[in-house]
Symmetry: C2
Subunit: 116 residues, 2 copies
């Protein structure tokens, strides 16, 4: 199945372990063993996740045989943000409505106290 | 399987048809039939996609029996952007490096022309 780049990016991010791996790579390149440390997952399990991230272009792996450090590649994340940003006006609108609603409640509360 | 909200959001976005459905809902609420129109997919196929979007909280459906219009709910997209924004410095750095590299090539090209 051919998957478009944006779908691969989102699919790779749809897993908490894979997101945690990217977060750890944010502080610099790491070996598979180093990456596996904080997780309760076998090395082959981590390798599977790394393969998904690599195929999505979110990490790059060194070519030295024993030490193949993983590095974060953030460019696909930028494309994902660009896609999501088109919806900013919608979430800002719904936030504005919520804010308006909370203000309205506050006003009613104050009116009631004023009447006492 | 219990899935966290962010994973559900990214999984729902990892499909071009589902993203296209959200794009169409950007112009206002629509019935399932209206949503299905531009796609070469059966109504049950579209309904499956809508279920994924609804479970991820990205759409809301009206409660009137025959006419159950779908509406965009953008709040989960905001959480997704918040997560991705932490990586902005990484993609900006790699963009800066690319820009520097292109400038370097341009300089070398101009030097060669200058030597002629």
């Amino acid at each position: 199945m051919v998957t478009d780049q944006l779908s691969s990016t989102f699919a790779a991010l749809a897993d908490p372990t894979r997101r945690a791996i990217l977060e750890r790579l944010g502080s610099g390149e790491k070996s598979v063993t180093e990456l596996a440390e904080p997780f309760d997952i076998s090395l082959p399990g981590i390798s599977k996740h790394l393969k998904v991230l690599e195929q999505a272009g979110l990490i790059e792996r060194g070519r030295v045989a024993q030490w193949r450090p993983c590095r974060l590649q953030a460019a696909p994340l930028r494309t994902a943000v660009d896609w999501l940003e088109r919806y900013r006006k919608f979430w800002e609108e719904s936030f504005d409505r919520l804010e308006e609603y909370l203000k309205e409640i506050q006003r009613k509360k104050e009116d009631r106290h004023g009447q006492k």
